[in-house]
């Protein structure tokens, strides 16, 4: 099926995935590159956070997360960026 918004706006930052097929993941791998902003939403705030003996993980670096928030996305912080005009310049 095509995505419900297909073609409504020419917004190349947020290209939808609309080539889906039913079935397993293997059959549905997106052919189009996913939007970086959606990917970072998941890679920086999702995923298992392993702790203990590791050197480090992103989750442990507050500095990185703070500066990333300004640069890229509001990383997993539900209270940040609620201001409708809060988009960084």
């Amino acid at each position: 099926m095509s995505a419900p918004h297909a073609g409504r706006y020419d917004d190349r930052h947020d290209l939808p995935y609309d080539g889906g097929h039913p079935g397993g993941y293997e059959d549905r791998l997106p052919e189009r590159q996913v939007a970086l902003v959606d990917l970072l939403d998941r890679l920086l705030s999702g995923g298992v956070v392993l702790a203990g003996d590791l050197v480090l993980s992103v989750a442990g670096i507050d500095l990185v997360r703070v500066s990333l928030r300004a640069l890229v996305v509001s990383v997993g912080d539900e209270t940040a960026g609620q201001d409708s005009e809060g988009r960084p310049a």
Binding site: M1, A3, P4, H5, Y9, D11, R12, H13, D14, P16, Y17, D18, G20, P22, G23, G24, Y25, R28, L29, P30, Q33, V34, L36, V37, D38, L39, L40, D41, R42, L43, S45, G46, G47, V48, V49, L50, A51, G52, D53, L54, V55, L56, S57, V58, I61, L63, V64, L68, L71, V72, V73, S74, G76, D77, E78, G81, Q82, G86, R87, P88
Partner: protein
Amino acid sequence: MTHPEEHAERAEQDDRVAQDDRVAHDRSAGHVVYVYAVVEAAAPLRDRLAALRGVAEARVELLSETGGDGDGSGRPGRLALVVSSVPRADFDEAALTRNFEDLAWLERVARAHHDVVGAVAARGTVLPLRMATVYEDGDRAGRALSERHETFARRLAALRAHAEYGVKLSLPPAGAVSRTAPAAPTDSAVPGGEGRPAGPGRAYLHRRRAQRQAREAVHAQAGPAAAALSEAAARHASEHVRHAPQRSPLSGPSQNVLNASYLVPDARADAFRAAVARVAERFPDLRVEVTGPWAPYSFAMPPSGPDPAAGDGPDEAGPAPAREAS
């Protein structure tokens, strides 16, 4: 999914010896172990991984579960880590802090991580790790895996035959609401004084008011649309989570008001998409976007959020924010 472990056991043990040799070599050569994901050790991944290049163009390998003393090898449903050996100089703490300020570097690593996770997800259930999880060496990574074996095994079972889908709701960019309204003049507006005949200034104000009213009408739909979308999507999902709305230069001019992820059983994927599309049709002025299928990044941790630092303790330790089972 079947678990053809017995016949794979010998090959895996042989591989583990080879991997451990390599990890030891890489460690001496200034490498650390980047971990992408947890998988079931029996998943048929070796040929797939052999053709991949991961983060830093590194080879992608399976690191089977072992304790420091090998206690994990006899467990049923053994797990493995998907790893790469990457240069310490690019992935130690100082380098990561620096590199994460570099959007091009960040994108390269994110896409490489995503490609590896996606390739693994195509062959079986995957538990993705947070991006840039790095261990000193394979022994420590394997030990961390063994220590949380039960938690990971349970989560993998819950994620089997599921995929993550994103649902976003956005307001159109300012200026895109009233496309029929003429564009505002480029010179500064002239306020229309009372009693003056209608002129360019007054006409401009009129247009601006019409645009504002049109935009307010669209804004007023956002709440009901978000509620309807959430309800429709959750009906076909096992779990859902809300991400922070996207507000950044990367997210484009649209104003994102809902940014949610749903863990959808494969058998419900079509119904899920159809339900979301039906809601979207009711709100033609708003932008509804479905992304996915994704590997279950947003659902790698159980909904109730165990202490990340804990071992195999109780998982139901307390609610994670904004995270619910549907």
